[in-house]
Symmetry: C2
Subunit: 243 residues, 2 copies
DNA sequence: GCCGATTTGTCCGTATGTATC
DNA sequence: CGATACATACGGACAAATCGG
């Protein structure tokens, strides 16, 4: 049950593009035709098309039409041994995923934490370290901090299953936005102990701040990935490219 | 000379947010007020706000207002030694940037190249390897391939300056979109020779396909970054998070 | 708990400009 | 030049969510 008409159109077009009913480099039916197909206004069609452009599926060309730039190749030869995220990989490859809680504590943010995470000094936090495994092999070390006043009631048991499920299904809080930063860092002693990096001396590190529906930051996370299990994809449009 | 009204509004609000005239966690003036301020329709204001949301500057809350979630911290303590891109870093940090062409060749895509890059077998390409230095220190090894039929006339001299400047200013071709993929890979022998990775045995690798204004892919690039010189930022909104 | 005011979310229709063919 | 197709902008209507009295 999609809430809005433009989301329905977006999803329908997305599936048709992925199934290559509309193939790479072809031109979609003009907006005027889509207006008829979906029985809606031109604005609504354009909104769906704009979303598809955002994820790198189509590109509008003034005076010509809307061209499909999605390539199924994305999922085959382009990627060699990498994965997108823990969850995606686990479900896509039907691997047994497993989470082990290494540390579960409650702390109060000091100045060091404030400058590193963005949580104000004095904020009460849950501090959690978890090891994520695929088919028994450790691949990601997650360090989470949650604002206790926004996300109360986290237990070690919840951390062992899924904190996000708890947030959405139990607390009924909306997860709205996440800012992420990717870097490559040297392995630490903790990494050595938990992740078995072998002869790799670096990890892919993703730090993120996550905001709820009210625009309040409730989570800071650092995910330390073994290189084999990391692949991040992104689409940059003109606006971002040029300033 | 911004082309459109909504871009002007976007840029103006962006500056005000960056200067913290509108500060972190505050609520912007309601759309109805911005309509008056900028003397435009509500749709136009909303479009500018939507763009600000895309880059992680604001977040709209139904029934409440539009909250600023931009943090100046982003540019200070959060990033240590990392850079965003070669160009940005070079100009932002006022470092001497320098590009050295290591290899300049013309090749024809075979099946291996097709499956790796997305260029059709038989496509004539420029193949270029360049070493980018900041203040004399090598930090990125770029491997570029350009479709000769779309971007003709590249010379070693142009490669030594800026190919993108050539494309935009001489060929007057629009650079519209780029799909990127980030991974962490082991250093190769070429990396060792060119980049002096020291005791790092991994690099941050960004592979990208770039499309012009007509929706045609004209470039495939692999950028191999020394870990110290790599930091990538990103904002994910609800639509992407769920799906 | 309800109601009304405020604010954002969705959708429609129309007009005009710009680029391509 | 005219037809087609996307780009920008305006205006209006109603729904959904929040908040204060």
């Amino acid at each position: 049950m999609p809430k809005s008409k433009y989301t329905e159109i977006y999803k329908d077009l997305k599936l048709r593009i992925e199934s290559e009913e509309y193939e790479y480099q072809s031109i979609l039916p003009p907006e005027s035709a889509l207006v008829v197909t979906y029985d809606c206004s031109r604005n609504t069609v354009r909104r769906a098309l704009a979303q598809l452009a955002e994820i790198g599926y189509v590109q509008a060309i003034n005076g010509v039409g809307v061209r499909v730039v999605y390539q199924p190749i994305d999922k085959a030869s382009f990627v060699i041994g990498g994965i997108e995220t823990f969850k995606e990989s686990a479900s896509r490859n039907k691997l047994n995923s497993n989470t082990e809680v290494i540390m579960f504590a409650e702390i109060t943010a000091d100045e060091r934490i404030q400058s590193r995470t963005g949580f104000k000094k004095g904020t009460e936090l849950y501090y959690i370290q978890r090891l994520r495994k695929l088919d028994g092999k450790p691949c990601i070390l997650d360090i989470n901090m949650f604002d206790k006043s926004i996300v109360p009631g986290i237990t070690e048991e919840i951390a062992n299953k899924s904190i996000y499920e708890y947030i959405e299904n139990e607390l009924h809080m909306e997860i709205a936005m996440s800012k992420r930063k990717m870097t490559v860092e040297r392995v630490t002693e903790v990494d050595m102990k938990c992740l078995n990096p072998g002869d790799y001396n670096c990890l892919a590190v993703v730090t993120s701040q996550t905001f709820n529906g009210m625009g309040l930051m409730f989570e800071y996370t650092q995910s330390r990935h073994l290189p084999e299990y990391f692949c991040f994809m992104d689409t940059a449009t003109r606006a971002e490219l040029h300033d």
